[in-house]
Amino acid sequence: MKDALDRGAMGVSAREDHLRSILATVPDAMVLIDDHGAILSFSAAAEKMFGFAEDEVLGENVSMLMPSPDRERHDGYLKDYRDTGVRKIIGIGRVTTARHRDGNTFPIELSVGEAWVEGRRVFTGFIHDLTERREADIRLRHLQAELAHVGRLSEMGTLASSLAHELNQPLTAITSYCQGAADLLDGEQDAQRLEMARQAMRETMEQAIRAGQIVKRMREFLRSGETERSVEQLSRLVTEANALALVGTREHGIDVQVNLDPSCNHVFVDRIQIQQVLFNLIRNAIEAMLDCPIRSLLISSKSAQDGFAMVSIEDSGSGISDNVADQLFQPFVTTKGTGMGIGLSICRTIIEAHGGRIWFEPGSEGGTIFRFTLPKAEVVDDRA
Protein backbone atom coordinates (compact mmCIF):
# COMPACT_ATOMS: atom_id res chain seq x y z
CA MET A 1 0.00 0.00 0.00
CA LYS A 2 2.69 2.47 1.01
CA ASP A 3 4.81 1.55 -1.96
CA ALA A 4 1.89 1.79 -4.27
CA LEU A 5 1.15 5.31 -3.18
CA ASP A 6 4.72 6.55 -2.90
CA ARG A 7 4.74 8.71 -5.98
CA GLY A 8 5.10 12.35 -6.84
CA ALA A 9 6.52 15.07 -4.68
CA MET A 10 4.94 14.06 -1.41
CA GLY A 11 6.68 11.74 0.96
CA VAL A 12 5.18 8.43 1.93
CA SER A 13 3.63 9.55 5.17
CA ALA A 14 2.48 12.89 3.80
CA ARG A 15 0.85 11.11 0.91
CA GLU A 16 -0.89 8.74 3.25
CA ASP A 17 -2.07 11.50 5.55
CA HIS A 18 -3.44 13.32 2.54
CA LEU A 19 -5.33 10.26 1.40
CA ARG A 20 -6.62 9.66 4.89
CA SER A 21 -7.88 13.21 5.19
CA ILE A 22 -9.81 12.78 1.96
CA LEU A 23 -11.21 9.46 3.10
CA ALA A 24 -12.29 11.00 6.39
CA THR A 25 -14.41 13.64 4.68
CA VAL A 26 -16.10 11.53 2.02
CA PRO A 27 -19.72 11.25 3.12
CA ASP A 28 -20.23 7.88 1.46
CA ALA A 29 -18.36 4.89 2.77
CA MET A 30 -15.26 4.12 0.74
CA VAL A 31 -13.57 0.72 0.65
CA LEU A 32 -10.41 0.05 -1.33
CA ILE A 33 -9.58 -3.57 -2.26
CA ASP A 34 -6.97 -5.37 -4.32
CA ASP A 35 -7.95 -7.59 -7.23
CA HIS A 36 -8.33 -10.59 -4.92
CA GLY A 37 -10.74 -8.83 -2.60
CA ALA A 38 -8.40 -7.98 0.28
CA ILE A 39 -9.31 -4.72 1.97
CA LEU A 40 -6.60 -2.06 1.60
CA SER A 41 -8.38 0.89 3.08
CA PHE A 42 -11.58 1.47 5.01
CA SER A 43 -12.88 5.04 5.40
CA ALA A 44 -14.27 6.63 8.56
CA ALA A 45 -17.74 6.61 7.04
CA ALA A 46 -17.30 2.90 6.30
CA GLU A 47 -16.34 2.27 9.92
CA LYS A 48 -19.54 3.97 10.98
CA MET A 49 -21.68 2.26 8.38
CA PHE A 50 -20.45 -1.31 9.00
CA GLY A 51 -19.47 -1.17 12.66
CA PHE A 52 -15.87 -2.33 12.11
CA ALA A 53 -12.72 -0.34 12.86
CA GLU A 54 -10.30 -0.08 9.95
CA ASP A 55 -7.56 -2.17 11.59
CA GLU A 56 -10.04 -4.98 12.19
CA VAL A 57 -10.72 -5.36 8.47
CA LEU A 58 -7.46 -4.46 6.75
CA GLY A 59 -6.31 -7.46 4.73
CA GLU A 60 -9.62 -9.28 5.25
CA ASN A 61 -11.78 -10.39 2.32
CA VAL A 62 -14.30 -7.73 1.39
CA SER A 63 -16.96 -10.41 1.13
CA MET A 64 -17.28 -10.20 4.92
CA LEU A 65 -19.28 -7.00 4.30
CA MET A 66 -21.81 -8.82 2.14
CA PRO A 67 -24.78 -11.03 3.00
CA SER A 68 -25.32 -14.36 1.26
CA PRO A 69 -25.28 -15.22 -1.57
CA ASP A 70 -22.80 -12.49 -2.64
CA ARG A 71 -20.67 -13.37 0.39
CA GLU A 72 -19.87 -16.76 -1.07
CA ARG A 73 -19.77 -15.70 -4.70
CA HIS A 74 -17.69 -12.54 -4.57
CA ASP A 75 -14.35 -14.26 -5.07
CA GLY A 76 -15.86 -15.82 -8.18
CA TYR A 77 -16.98 -12.41 -9.48
CA LEU A 78 -13.44 -11.09 -9.13
CA LYS A 79 -11.96 -14.11 -10.86
CA ASP A 80 -14.42 -13.81 -13.75
CA TYR A 81 -13.43 -10.17 -14.21
CA ARG A 82 -9.69 -10.95 -14.07
CA ASP A 83 -10.20 -13.68 -16.68
CA THR A 84 -12.65 -12.02 -19.07
CA GLY A 85 -12.40 -8.26 -18.45
CA VAL A 86 -16.17 -8.05 -18.84
CA ARG A 87 -17.49 -5.30 -16.57
CA LYS A 88 -20.64 -6.15 -14.69
CA ILE A 89 -20.50 -3.51 -12.00
CA ILE A 90 -17.43 -1.33 -12.54
CA GLY A 91 -18.46 2.08 -13.80
CA ILE A 92 -22.10 0.99 -13.76
CA GLY A 93 -23.16 0.83 -10.14
CA ARG A 94 -26.09 -0.99 -8.67
CA VAL A 95 -28.47 -1.04 -5.76
CA THR A 96 -27.75 -4.03 -3.55
CA THR A 97 -27.49 -4.95 0.11
CA ALA A 98 -24.64 -4.90 2.60
CA ARG A 99 -24.09 -6.61 5.94
CA HIS A 100 -23.40 -4.82 9.19
CA ARG A 101 -21.10 -6.27 11.86
CA ASP A 102 -24.20 -7.16 13.89
CA GLY A 103 -25.51 -9.31 11.03
CA ASN A 104 -28.22 -6.91 9.88
CA THR A 105 -28.42 -6.19 6.18
CA PHE A 106 -29.24 -2.80 4.75
CA PRO A 107 -29.89 -1.38 1.27
CA ILE A 108 -26.99 0.36 -0.41
CA GLU A 109 -26.11 1.97 -3.68
CA LEU A 110 -22.71 0.64 -4.74
CA SER A 111 -20.41 2.27 -7.29
CA VAL A 112 -17.10 0.65 -8.14
CA GLY A 113 -14.10 2.22 -9.84
CA GLU A 114 -10.93 0.53 -11.07
CA ALA A 115 -7.43 1.94 -11.01
CA TRP A 116 -3.88 0.78 -11.64
CA VAL A 117 -1.41 1.89 -9.03
CA GLU A 118 2.25 1.00 -9.62
CA GLY A 119 1.25 -1.98 -11.69
CA ARG A 120 -1.27 -3.21 -9.16
CA ARG A 121 -4.95 -3.25 -9.87
CA VAL A 122 -7.16 -1.82 -7.13
CA PHE A 123 -10.93 -1.39 -6.91
CA THR A 124 -12.61 1.43 -5.04
CA GLY A 125 -16.12 0.92 -3.78
CA PHE A 126 -18.31 3.87 -2.87
CA ILE A 127 -21.23 2.80 -0.72
CA HIS A 128 -24.23 4.96 -0.10
CA ASP A 129 -26.59 3.84 2.63
CA LEU A 130 -30.08 3.96 1.18
CA THR A 131 -31.80 3.67 4.53
CA GLU A 132 -30.37 7.11 5.25
CA ARG A 133 -31.35 8.32 1.83
CA ARG A 134 -34.89 7.23 2.46
CA GLU A 135 -34.86 9.30 5.63
CA ALA A 136 -33.41 12.17 3.65
CA ASP A 137 -36.26 11.87 1.18
CA ILE A 138 -38.70 12.17 4.02
CA ARG A 139 -36.84 15.21 5.34
CA LEU A 140 -36.94 16.69 1.87
CA ARG A 141 -40.67 16.23 1.69
CA HIS A 142 -41.14 17.88 5.09
CA LEU A 143 -38.98 20.76 3.97
CA GLN A 144 -41.02 21.11 0.82
CA ALA A 145 -44.22 21.24 2.84
CA GLU A 146 -42.76 23.89 5.12
CA LEU A 147 -41.64 25.99 2.17
CA ALA A 148 -44.99 25.73 0.52
CA HIS A 149 -46.53 26.85 3.78
CA VAL A 150 -44.32 29.90 4.02
CA GLY A 151 -45.16 30.69 0.43
CA ARG A 152 -48.81 30.65 1.34
CA LEU A 153 -48.25 32.81 4.40
CA SER A 154 -46.34 35.38 2.40
CA GLU A 155 -48.97 35.38 -0.31
CA MET A 156 -51.51 35.83 2.43
CA GLY A 157 -49.67 38.89 3.70
CA THR A 158 -49.69 40.42 0.24
CA LEU A 159 -53.30 39.53 -0.35
CA ALA A 160 -54.64 40.25 3.13
CA SER A 161 -55.70 43.80 2.40
CA SER A 162 -57.55 42.97 -0.80
CA LEU A 163 -59.22 39.98 0.85
CA ALA A 164 -60.41 42.12 3.75
CA HIS A 165 -61.90 44.51 1.24
CA GLU A 166 -63.53 41.62 -0.56
CA LEU A 167 -65.05 40.38 2.68
CA ASN A 168 -66.52 43.80 3.46
CA GLN A 169 -68.57 43.72 0.27
CA PRO A 170 -70.88 40.81 1.16
CA LEU A 171 -71.03 42.01 4.79
CA THR A 172 -72.21 45.39 3.59
CA ALA A 173 -74.78 43.76 1.34
CA ILE A 174 -76.02 41.53 4.19
CA THR A 175 -76.35 44.47 6.57
CA SER A 176 -78.24 46.50 4.00
CA TYR A 177 -80.62 43.72 2.97
CA CYS A 178 -81.45 42.94 6.61
CA GLN A 179 -82.03 46.57 7.52
CA GLY A 180 -84.25 47.06 4.49
CA ALA A 181 -86.19 43.88 5.17
CA ALA A 182 -86.64 44.80 8.83
CA ASP A 183 -88.05 48.17 7.76
CA LEU A 184 -90.48 46.44 5.42
CA LEU A 185 -91.67 44.06 8.14
CA ASP A 186 -92.09 46.93 10.61
CA GLY A 187 -94.54 48.73 8.35
CA GLU A 188 -97.84 47.62 6.86
CA GLN A 189 -97.48 44.05 5.68
CA ASP A 190 -99.13 43.84 2.30
CA ALA A 191 -98.30 41.01 -0.07
CA GLN A 192 -95.92 43.08 -2.15
CA ARG A 193 -93.85 44.26 0.83
CA LEU A 194 -93.67 40.72 2.22
CA GLU A 195 -92.45 39.43 -1.13
CA MET A 196 -89.78 42.12 -1.24
CA ALA A 197 -88.64 41.21 2.27
CA ARG A 198 -88.52 37.55 1.29
CA GLN A 199 -86.44 38.37 -1.76
CA ALA A 200 -84.06 40.41 0.42
CA MET A 201 -83.64 37.41 2.75
CA ARG A 202 -82.80 35.15 -0.17
CA GLU A 203 -80.18 37.57 -1.41
CA THR A 204 -78.82 37.92 2.14
CA MET A 205 -78.25 34.19 2.15
CA GLU A 206 -76.36 34.32 -1.12
CA GLN A 207 -74.15 37.08 0.23
CA ALA A 208 -73.48 35.17 3.46
CA ILE A 209 -72.35 32.22 1.36
CA ARG A 210 -70.15 34.52 -0.68
CA ALA A 211 -68.54 35.75 2.56
CA GLY A 212 -68.06 32.18 3.72
CA GLN A 213 -66.26 31.29 0.52
CA ILE A 214 -63.86 34.17 0.98
CA VAL A 215 -63.11 33.06 4.53
CA LYS A 216 -62.57 29.51 3.33
CA ARG A 217 -60.12 30.71 0.71
CA MET A 218 -58.19 32.63 3.36
CA ARG A 219 -58.10 29.64 5.66
CA GLU A 220 -56.64 27.43 2.99
CA PHE A 221 -53.64 29.73 2.88
CA LEU A 222 -53.16 29.84 6.61
CA ARG A 223 -51.93 26.70 8.26
CA SER A 224 -49.93 26.24 11.43
CA GLY A 225 -46.21 26.94 11.50
CA GLU A 226 -44.29 29.63 13.29
CA THR A 227 -40.89 30.71 12.07
CA GLU A 228 -38.02 32.52 13.71
CA ARG A 229 -34.49 33.69 13.08
CA SER A 230 -31.36 31.91 14.17
CA VAL A 231 -27.77 31.43 13.09
CA GLU A 232 -27.83 29.33 9.94
CA GLN A 233 -25.25 28.07 7.50
CA LEU A 234 -25.72 29.54 4.08
CA SER A 235 -24.25 26.39 2.55
CA ARG A 236 -27.00 24.30 4.10
CA LEU A 237 -29.74 26.72 3.04
CA VAL A 238 -28.44 26.71 -0.53
CA THR A 239 -28.02 22.94 -0.69
CA GLU A 240 -31.51 22.24 0.60
CA ALA A 241 -33.32 24.90 -1.43
CA ASN A 242 -31.36 23.89 -4.51
CA ALA A 243 -32.31 20.24 -4.06
CA LEU A 244 -35.96 21.23 -3.90
CA ALA A 245 -35.79 23.64 -6.79
CA LEU A 246 -34.15 21.05 -9.01
CA VAL A 247 -36.86 18.48 -8.38
CA GLY A 248 -38.20 17.39 -11.73
CA THR A 249 -35.68 19.33 -13.82
CA ARG A 250 -33.23 16.55 -14.57
CA GLU A 251 -34.49 16.13 -18.13
CA HIS A 252 -33.59 19.74 -18.89
CA GLY A 253 -29.89 19.09 -18.30
CA ILE A 254 -29.16 22.11 -16.15
CA ASP A 255 -25.56 22.65 -15.16
CA VAL A 256 -25.55 23.93 -11.59
CA GLN A 257 -22.44 25.34 -10.00
CA VAL A 258 -22.31 26.39 -6.37
CA ASN A 259 -19.46 28.60 -5.25
CA LEU A 260 -19.92 29.84 -1.70
CA ASP A 261 -17.42 31.91 0.22
CA PRO A 262 -16.81 30.14 3.56
CA SER A 263 -15.99 33.47 5.24
CA CYS A 264 -19.65 34.50 5.13
CA ASN A 265 -21.25 31.12 5.68
CA HIS A 266 -23.01 32.04 8.91
CA VAL A 267 -26.04 34.23 8.55
CA PHE A 268 -28.73 35.31 11.00
CA VAL A 269 -31.97 34.52 9.25
CA ASP A 270 -35.26 32.73 9.27
CA ARG A 271 -34.20 29.49 7.62
CA ILE A 272 -37.48 28.64 5.94
CA GLN A 273 -38.06 32.12 4.62
CA ILE A 274 -34.60 32.40 3.10
CA GLN A 275 -34.99 28.96 1.57
CA GLN A 276 -38.23 30.22 0.08
CA VAL A 277 -36.30 33.12 -1.50
CA LEU A 278 -33.56 30.83 -2.82
CA PHE A 279 -36.16 28.36 -4.04
CA ASN A 280 -38.11 31.08 -5.88
CA LEU A 281 -35.01 32.58 -7.47
CA ILE A 282 -33.58 29.22 -8.53
CA ARG A 283 -36.92 28.11 -9.98
CA ASN A 284 -37.21 31.41 -11.84
CA ALA A 285 -33.68 31.02 -13.17
CA ILE A 286 -34.40 27.49 -14.37
CA GLU A 287 -37.61 28.55 -16.07
CA ALA A 288 -35.83 31.46 -17.72
CA MET A 289 -33.36 29.06 -19.35
CA LEU A 290 -35.67 26.34 -20.62
CA ASP A 291 -35.77 27.73 -24.15
CA CYS A 292 -32.05 28.41 -24.30
CA PRO A 293 -29.41 26.05 -25.70
CA ILE A 294 -27.03 26.65 -22.79
CA ARG A 295 -28.50 26.14 -19.34
CA SER A 296 -26.07 26.97 -16.62
CA LEU A 297 -26.85 28.24 -13.16
CA LEU A 298 -24.29 29.72 -10.80
CA ILE A 299 -25.05 30.21 -7.13
CA SER A 300 -22.35 32.13 -5.32
CA SER A 301 -21.80 34.19 -2.21
CA LYS A 302 -19.30 36.69 -0.90
CA SER A 303 -18.97 39.16 1.92
CA ALA A 304 -20.57 42.56 1.34
CA GLN A 305 -20.33 45.79 3.29
CA ASP A 306 -21.68 46.48 6.78
CA GLY A 307 -21.74 42.91 8.01
CA PHE A 308 -23.82 41.51 5.18
CA ALA A 309 -23.32 38.50 2.96
CA MET A 310 -24.32 38.81 -0.68
CA VAL A 311 -25.81 35.85 -2.51
CA SER A 312 -25.96 35.81 -6.30
CA ILE A 313 -27.94 33.56 -8.59
CA GLU A 314 -26.94 33.86 -12.22
CA ASP A 315 -28.70 32.19 -15.10
CA SER A 316 -27.79 31.88 -18.76
CA GLY A 317 -31.27 32.80 -19.93
CA SER A 318 -32.25 35.58 -22.29
CA GLY A 319 -32.44 38.37 -19.73
CA ILE A 320 -35.29 40.60 -18.58
CA SER A 321 -36.95 43.03 -20.94
CA ASP A 322 -36.89 46.72 -20.03
CA ASN A 323 -40.66 47.11 -19.89
CA VAL A 324 -41.05 44.81 -16.90
CA ALA A 325 -37.67 45.47 -15.32
CA ASP A 326 -38.65 48.40 -13.12
CA GLN A 327 -41.77 46.78 -11.71
CA LEU A 328 -40.49 43.24 -11.42
CA PHE A 329 -40.72 43.16 -7.62
CA GLN A 330 -44.28 44.45 -7.58
CA PRO A 331 -47.03 41.96 -6.82
CA PHE A 332 -48.99 40.59 -9.77
CA VAL A 333 -46.33 41.44 -12.34
CA THR A 334 -45.23 38.36 -14.21
CA THR A 335 -43.34 37.48 -17.36
CA LYS A 336 -44.52 33.90 -17.28
CA GLY A 337 -47.44 32.44 -19.16
CA THR A 338 -48.74 31.02 -15.92
CA GLY A 339 -48.15 32.28 -12.42
CA MET A 340 -49.53 34.91 -10.12
CA GLY A 341 -46.52 37.18 -10.26
CA ILE A 342 -46.04 37.22 -6.53
CA GLY A 343 -42.84 35.16 -6.16
CA LEU A 344 -40.46 38.08 -6.43
CA SER A 345 -42.60 40.34 -4.30
CA ILE A 346 -42.48 37.64 -1.61
CA CYS A 347 -38.70 37.52 -2.00
CA ARG A 348 -38.43 41.24 -1.58
CA THR A 349 -40.73 41.25 1.45
CA ILE A 350 -38.64 38.54 3.10
CA ILE A 351 -35.25 40.05 2.29
CA GLU A 352 -36.28 43.53 3.40
CA ALA A 353 -37.71 42.10 6.61
CA HIS A 354 -34.19 40.75 7.24
CA GLY A 355 -32.74 44.22 6.68
CA GLY A 356 -31.23 43.18 3.36
CA ARG A 357 -31.71 44.27 -0.20
CA ILE A 358 -32.63 42.40 -3.39
CA TRP A 359 -31.98 43.50 -6.93
CA PHE A 360 -30.98 42.18 -10.31
CA GLU A 361 -28.55 43.05 -13.05
CA PRO A 362 -27.72 41.74 -16.51
CA GLY A 363 -25.39 38.76 -16.48
CA SER A 364 -22.13 38.60 -18.42
CA GLU A 365 -23.55 36.09 -20.93
CA GLY A 366 -26.87 37.82 -21.59
CA GLY A 367 -28.70 36.18 -18.69
CA THR A 368 -29.73 37.72 -15.42
CA ILE A 369 -28.12 37.87 -11.99
CA PHE A 370 -30.38 38.21 -8.99
CA ARG A 371 -28.54 39.33 -5.87
CA PHE A 372 -29.60 39.75 -2.29
CA THR A 373 -27.92 40.55 0.99
CA LEU A 374 -28.40 38.93 4.38
CA PRO A 375 -27.04 39.86 7.81
CA LYS A 376 -23.96 37.83 8.71
CA ALA A 377 -23.97 36.16 12.10
CA GLU A 378 -21.15 36.72 14.56
CA VAL A 379 -20.05 33.20 15.40
CA VAL A 380 -17.86 32.86 18.44
CA ASP A 381 -17.57 29.10 18.30
CA ASP A 382 -16.39 28.77 14.72
CA ARG A 383 -15.96 25.06 14.24
CA ALA A 384 -17.96 24.74 11.05
Partner: protein, 204 residues
Protein backbone atom coordinates in the same frame (compact mmCIF):
# COMPACT_ATOMS: atom_id res chain seq x y z
CA UNK B 1 -93.93 62.62 6.90
CA UNK B 2 -94.80 63.90 3.45
CA UNK B 3 -91.24 64.87 2.65
CA UNK B 4 -90.25 64.71 -1.00
CA UNK B 5 -88.25 61.57 -1.86
CA UNK B 6 -84.59 62.27 -1.45
CA UNK B 7 -82.27 61.24 -4.24
CA UNK B 8 -79.09 59.19 -3.79
CA UNK B 9 -76.59 58.56 -6.60
CA UNK B 10 -75.03 55.24 -5.64
CA UNK B 11 -71.69 54.40 -7.27
CA UNK B 12 -70.14 50.96 -6.63
CA UNK B 13 -68.61 48.41 -8.99
CA UNK B 14 -70.09 45.54 -6.95
CA UNK B 15 -73.59 44.61 -8.13
CA UNK B 16 -74.50 43.13 -4.71
CA UNK B 17 -73.72 46.46 -3.04
CA UNK B 18 -75.76 48.41 -5.59
CA UNK B 19 -78.72 46.07 -5.12
CA UNK B 20 -78.60 45.77 -1.33
CA UNK B 21 -77.76 49.35 -0.38
CA UNK B 22 -80.18 50.54 -3.04
CA UNK B 23 -82.86 48.30 -1.54
CA UNK B 24 -82.24 49.60 1.98
CA UNK B 25 -82.31 53.22 0.86
CA UNK B 26 -85.54 52.68 -1.07
CA UNK B 27 -87.24 51.07 1.91
CA UNK B 28 -86.27 54.09 3.98
CA UNK B 29 -87.85 56.48 1.55
CA UNK B 30 -85.06 57.39 -0.86
CA UNK B 31 -84.96 57.43 -4.60
CA UNK B 32 -81.83 55.67 -5.86
CA UNK B 33 -79.90 56.00 -9.10
CA UNK B 34 -77.17 53.36 -9.41
CA UNK B 35 -73.94 53.57 -11.40
CA UNK B 36 -71.48 50.73 -11.80
CA UNK B 37 -68.44 52.96 -12.24
CA UNK B 38 -67.19 56.50 -11.83
CA UNK B 39 -67.17 56.80 -15.61
CA UNK B 40 -70.92 55.99 -15.72
CA UNK B 41 -71.59 58.68 -13.11
CA UNK B 42 -69.52 61.26 -14.99
CA UNK B 43 -71.37 60.47 -18.24
CA UNK B 44 -74.55 61.55 -16.46
CA UNK B 45 -72.93 64.63 -14.92
CA UNK B 46 -75.16 67.10 -16.77
CA UNK B 47 -78.16 65.58 -14.97
CA UNK B 48 -76.51 65.67 -11.54
CA UNK B 49 -78.37 68.66 -10.14
CA UNK B 50 -79.94 67.08 -7.06
CA UNK B 51 -79.24 64.55 -4.34
CA UNK B 52 -76.17 63.14 -2.60
CA UNK B 53 -73.48 61.04 -4.22
CA UNK B 54 -72.62 57.84 -2.33
CA UNK B 55 -69.27 56.84 -3.74
CA UNK B 56 -67.14 53.71 -3.23
CA UNK B 57 -63.48 54.65 -2.85
CA UNK B 58 -61.98 51.46 -4.28
CA UNK B 59 -63.10 50.75 -7.79
CA UNK B 60 -61.38 49.50 -10.92
CA UNK B 61 -60.87 52.26 -13.46
CA UNK B 62 -61.41 55.61 -11.77
CA UNK B 63 -61.20 55.35 -7.98
CA UNK B 64 -63.34 57.41 -5.62
CA UNK B 65 -60.78 60.24 -5.27
CA UNK B 66 -60.42 60.57 -9.03
CA UNK B 67 -64.19 60.64 -9.50
CA UNK B 68 -64.44 63.35 -6.85
CA UNK B 69 -61.83 65.43 -8.66
CA UNK B 70 -63.52 64.91 -12.05
CA UNK B 71 -66.88 65.99 -10.58
CA UNK B 72 -65.31 69.19 -9.26
CA UNK B 73 -63.71 69.81 -12.65
CA UNK B 74 -67.14 69.49 -14.27
CA UNK B 75 -68.65 71.88 -11.74
CA UNK B 76 -70.82 69.25 -10.04
CA UNK B 77 -71.11 70.37 -6.42
CA UNK B 78 -73.42 67.69 -5.02
CA UNK B 79 -72.40 66.46 -1.55
CA UNK B 80 -70.20 63.36 -1.74
CA UNK B 81 -70.18 60.60 0.87
CA UNK B 82 -67.38 58.10 0.61
CA UNK B 83 -67.73 54.37 1.31
CA UNK B 84 -64.47 52.77 2.37
CA UNK B 85 -63.21 49.36 3.38
CA UNK B 86 -61.32 48.77 6.59
CA UNK B 87 -57.82 50.21 6.40
CA UNK B 88 -58.64 52.85 3.80
CA UNK B 89 -58.96 55.57 6.42
CA UNK B 90 -56.09 57.69 5.16
CA UNK B 91 -57.63 57.62 1.68
CA UNK B 92 -60.96 58.61 3.17
CA UNK B 93 -59.37 61.52 5.02
CA UNK B 94 -57.90 62.70 1.72
CA UNK B 95 -61.39 62.54 0.26
CA UNK B 96 -62.73 64.64 3.12
CA UNK B 97 -59.98 67.21 2.65
CA UNK B 98 -61.03 67.30 -0.99
CA UNK B 99 -64.52 68.26 0.16
CA UNK B 100 -66.37 65.01 0.84
CA UNK B 101 -69.06 65.41 3.48
CA UNK B 102 -68.25 62.21 5.29
CA UNK B 103 -66.85 58.73 4.96
CA UNK B 104 -68.44 55.55 6.24
CA UNK B 105 -66.66 52.25 6.69
CA UNK B 106 -68.13 49.12 5.14
CA UNK B 107 -70.05 47.37 6.51
CA UNK B 108 -72.16 50.19 7.96
CA UNK B 109 -75.41 50.44 9.87
CA UNK B 110 -78.40 52.12 8.34
CA UNK B 111 -78.31 54.91 10.95
CA UNK B 112 -74.71 55.72 10.09
CA UNK B 113 -75.50 56.00 6.40
CA UNK B 114 -78.68 57.98 6.97
CA UNK B 115 -76.81 60.32 9.36
CA UNK B 116 -74.18 61.02 6.71
CA UNK B 117 -76.83 61.57 4.04
CA UNK B 118 -78.66 63.91 6.44
CA UNK B 119 -75.51 66.00 6.72
CA UNK B 120 -75.21 65.92 2.92
CA UNK B 121 -78.78 67.14 2.38
CA UNK B 122 -78.26 69.84 4.99
CA UNK B 123 -75.30 71.13 2.98
CA UNK B 124 -77.33 70.91 -0.20
CA UNK B 125 -80.04 73.20 1.13
CA UNK B 126 -77.97 75.46 3.40
CA UNK B 127 -74.82 76.06 1.41
CA UNK B 128 -74.58 79.65 2.61
CA UNK B 129 -74.86 79.17 6.38
CA UNK B 130 -71.42 77.80 6.86
CA UNK B 131 -70.18 80.64 9.07
CA UNK B 132 -72.25 79.20 11.94
CA UNK B 133 -70.59 75.85 11.48
CA UNK B 134 -67.15 77.41 11.39
CA UNK B 135 -67.84 79.38 14.57
CA UNK B 136 -69.31 76.32 16.25
CA UNK B 137 -66.34 74.18 15.27
CA UNK B 138 -63.85 76.77 16.49
CA UNK B 139 -65.56 77.01 19.85
CA UNK B 140 -65.66 73.26 20.30
CA UNK B 141 -61.99 72.86 19.42
CA UNK B 142 -61.07 75.32 22.20
CA UNK B 143 -61.98 72.63 24.72
CA UNK B 144 -58.97 70.58 23.56
CA UNK B 145 -55.52 70.72 25.11
CA UNK B 146 -52.56 71.59 22.90
CA UNK B 147 -51.51 67.91 22.75
CA UNK B 148 -55.03 66.77 21.89
CA UNK B 149 -55.13 69.34 19.14
CA UNK B 150 -51.83 68.01 17.76
CA UNK B 151 -53.23 64.49 17.72
CA UNK B 152 -56.37 65.68 15.91
CA UNK B 153 -54.24 67.55 13.36
CA UNK B 154 -52.31 64.35 12.74
CA UNK B 155 -55.55 62.43 12.20
CA UNK B 156 -56.75 65.17 9.86
CA UNK B 157 -53.67 64.53 7.75
CA UNK B 158 -54.73 60.92 7.44
CA UNK B 159 -51.80 59.68 9.53
CA UNK B 160 -52.06 56.38 11.41
CA UNK B 161 -51.74 56.41 15.23
CA UNK B 162 -48.22 54.98 15.07
CA UNK B 163 -46.95 57.78 12.86
CA UNK B 164 -48.58 60.45 15.01
CA UNK B 165 -46.97 58.86 18.08
CA UNK B 166 -43.57 58.91 16.40
CA UNK B 167 -43.92 62.53 15.25
CA UNK B 168 -44.96 63.69 18.71
CA UNK B 169 -42.45 61.51 20.53
CA UNK B 170 -45.11 59.71 22.56
CA UNK B 171 -46.33 56.12 22.63
CA UNK B 172 -49.13 54.88 20.34
CA UNK B 173 -51.07 53.98 23.48
CA UNK B 174 -50.92 57.62 24.61
CA UNK B 175 -52.11 58.70 21.16
CA UNK B 176 -55.10 56.41 21.58
CA UNK B 177 -55.92 58.01 24.93
CA UNK B 178 -55.66 61.52 23.48
CA UNK B 179 -57.78 60.41 20.56
CA UNK B 180 -60.49 59.10 22.87
CA UNK B 181 -60.39 62.39 24.86
CA UNK B 182 -60.76 64.35 21.63
CA UNK B 183 -63.85 62.36 20.68
CA UNK B 184 -65.32 62.84 24.17
CA UNK B 185 -64.69 66.57 24.36
CA UNK B 186 -66.05 67.17 20.86
CA UNK B 187 -69.04 64.94 21.72
CA UNK B 188 -68.64 62.94 18.51
CA UNK B 189 -68.92 59.21 17.96
CA UNK B 190 -66.86 58.74 14.83
CA UNK B 191 -63.52 59.89 13.50
CA UNK B 192 -65.23 61.40 10.48
CA UNK B 193 -67.35 63.67 12.69
CA UNK B 194 -64.24 64.83 14.53
CA UNK B 195 -62.49 65.50 11.24
CA UNK B 196 -65.47 67.43 9.93
CA UNK B 197 -65.11 69.79 12.90
CA UNK B 198 -61.37 70.09 12.34
CA UNK B 199 -61.84 70.83 8.64
CA UNK B 200 -64.65 73.30 9.30
CA UNK B 201 -62.50 75.24 11.79
CA UNK B 202 -59.64 75.38 9.32
CA UNK B 203 -61.90 77.14 6.77
CA UNK B 204 -61.94 80.19 9.01
Amino acid sequence: MIEPERLVHLVDDDAAIRRSVGFMLKTSGHRVESYESGTELLKASNRLDDGCILLDIRMPGLDGLEVQQALQDKGVSLPVIIMTGHGDVSLAVMAMKAGAVDFIEKPFEKETLLGSLEEGYRRLTHKEVTSDRIRDATVRLQALTAREREVLDGLAQGLPNKTIAYDLGISPRTVEIHRANVMNKLAVRSLSEALRIAFAASEQ
